[in-house]
């Protein structure tokens, strides 16, 4: 006997529409957060040896694209995530700060590696190394290691995605306040164009 479709109860017809993959119920917040965390675009931006591991994360073996975070952007205006990968020098700090300021809200920062977290090998005798990029821009996730394994950086990206998942749409002020405290640091005048040696 050929199988027959089960009879449809006319009373359940609307409910059926819901179960047929045509309608999903969710909250706006969850939906927006899902969209955002499924396409975290990092800024193409490497400062030292750690950047090599970041490149490995982007390449086939570790493949950050699997997690929707593939397209490394060439401009801060299109990026959601800044992976500060490498030694931040005092000369570089104002540039990092400027790039951060150019990114559109909401924006997130991963401090990758010992140097970026606290000066690393240059903590004591590195006259030119900023002792942690936290002194210049607010950091959301720290990834430890010198350099961290690519898997560790992926874990850092997951942590960012977790943060995004928990984000309240109307609670953005909290993050703004956090950033206010960083107003002063690193706003060094970048030398004007035409300055000798620029």
């Amino acid at each position: 006997m050929p199988p027959t479709a089960p009879p449809v109860n006319p009373a359940n017809q609307n409910q059926d529409l819901l179960t047929k993959d045509t309608i999903l119920l969710t909250t706006v917040e969850d939906f927006v957060n899902w969209c955002r965390r499924s396409s975290v675009w990092p800024l193409t931006f490497g400062l030292a040896c750690c950047a090599i591991e970041m490149m490995a994360v982007g390449a086939t073996k570790f493949d950050i694209d699997r997690f929707g975070s593939g397209p490394f952007r060439g401009t801060p205006r299109q990026a959601d995530l800044m992976i500060v990968a490498g030694t931040v020098t005092h000369k570089m700090a104002p540039r990092v700060k400027r790039l951060y300021d150019q990114m559109a809200e909401p924006k997130y920062v991963i401090a990758m590696g010992a140097c970026t977290i606290g000066g690393g090998p240059y903590w004591k005798y590195g006259y030119h190394v900023v002792k942690g990029v936290d002194l210049v821009i607010p950091v959301d996730v720290h990834v430890v290691g010198c350099p961290p394994r690519p898997e560790a950086l992926l874990e850092g990206v997951f942590k960012i995605q977790d943060l995004m998942k928990r984000e309240k749409l109307l609670d953005r002020l909290r993050t703004y306040h956090k950033r206010e405290t960083y107003k002063g640091a690193g706003n060094a005048a970048m030398p004007a164009p035409g300055t000798p040696g620029r």
Partner: protein, 160 residues
Amino acid sequence: MTRAEAHAAILAKFPDAIVRDGREGKEAGDPYLVVKAERLHDVVKWMKEDPGMRFEVLQCLSGVDYGKDLASVYHLDSWTNKVTVCLRVELPREKPEVASITDLYGAADWHEREAYDLLGITYTGHPKLVRILCAEDWVGYPLRKDYVFPKEYHGIKNDL
């Protein structure tokens, strides 16, 4: 040509310009000649242009802080004669000044800027002697032994 022969040739040509021959001391490392700062340019020019010497390559130009004095150290190579010679100019800490050799070797340009940046050695006649690694408004010369770390730089704390 051996290094000793090269040294002998330089000593014969410039008996008054060489302060001492580094091989005579007990110091380890490469043999070197210590040259008077005001004669350095002449010596290097002759070494480069003399057909018997032909030191075509400036291998390295470094600034050194020996604790008491600063020094500018030149490693010159002759590919023709297959020999390397090391010259050293000792400079007083208060006024370290020596003639630039950028007119002879283009490679000296950035090396001299680096020695200026990190040790404060002034190379007179350099076309553009400005800092090359540190920020333009950096204070002091970081590789000097008596350098004091800045407490902060543009609002970023440096002593934690």
